[in-house]
Symmetry: C2
Subunit: 150 residues, 2 copies
């Protein structure tokens, strides 16, 4: 290990962790208060994004991807089904599972681009970050994914 005098690596990491911790709290509160696209919560919007990019999935798969319990994800999915944005069909090969996918109307809404533009977070990314900065953020997101799955 090297330099323990001026910039010990763990002090740097510790300060970074502190910044990140505060940042996550603020982002989360912002998302909760402003990120409602329809009558959807922030978690529910995440589910829609996952289904859009990764395709149909079961409740358990979605829960694993989001790092939460199947019961918690089940509540989110129920709300989305009630809103007519997601529908589930039984897996013909495994009667225990229900395969969830976006409904046609939801897909249409996404394709029209309305959903994206109504979203506070993507709007903020576009309006406050230059294309180059957006790329920097993209690489950092990949780093954080690795970190959170470690």
């Amino acid at each position: 290990m090297r330099t323990q005098q001026n910039h010990p690596n763990d002090v740097r990491a510790s300060a970074l962790a502190g910044d990140l911790r505060i940042l996550i709290g603020k982002l989360r509160r912002r998302l909760r208060e402003r990120a409602h696209i329809g009558d959807l919560t922030w978690s529910q919007v995440s589910v829609l994004g996952h289904l859009e990019r990764e395709g149909p999935a079961t409740v358990t798969t979605l829960a694993q991807a989001a790092g939460m319990r199947p019961q918690s994800m089940g509540a989110n999915v129920s709300a989305l089904e009630a809103a007519g944005l997601v529908s589930g069909t039984p897996d013909p090969a495994d009667g225990r599972q229900i395969i969830l996918s976006l409904t046609a109307s939801c897909r249409k809404r996404i394709k029209a681009g309305r959903a994206a533009r109504e979203d506070w977070l993507s709007h903020a990314i576009q309006s406050t970050l230059s294309p180059g900065e957006q790329r920097e953020l993209g690489t950092a997101v990949e780093l954080l994914k690795r970190l959170v799955d470690s």
Copy 2:
């Protein structure tokens, strides 16, 4: 596959927003389940970090920095006072305010480096990210700060 000229910047921003949304959820749950240093919650650790780096502050100041209501911050501060990590003295110039600062024992604990190393997040940053990647993350954190305050 790259429709660079069509290249809707908003599609890119939208995908980035989706990734970020999921990431924040996962990070938040990870922090809640694993980031207890003593018997402290993640928000409380954030408060300690702020007081350590920025110096003494009032409840209102801390609340603004964290983007939450003074009442919510008050609950966190009360817990920290009960744990003997933070103490408040009345502002001699303004009787309404109470100035909060870290206690000697808390400072000692931080200085000993134990608190930092027990923290899941800073440990993860150190062990899974190279120094260069940590710098990349640092610049991205600055971008996100700007974004969340917009």
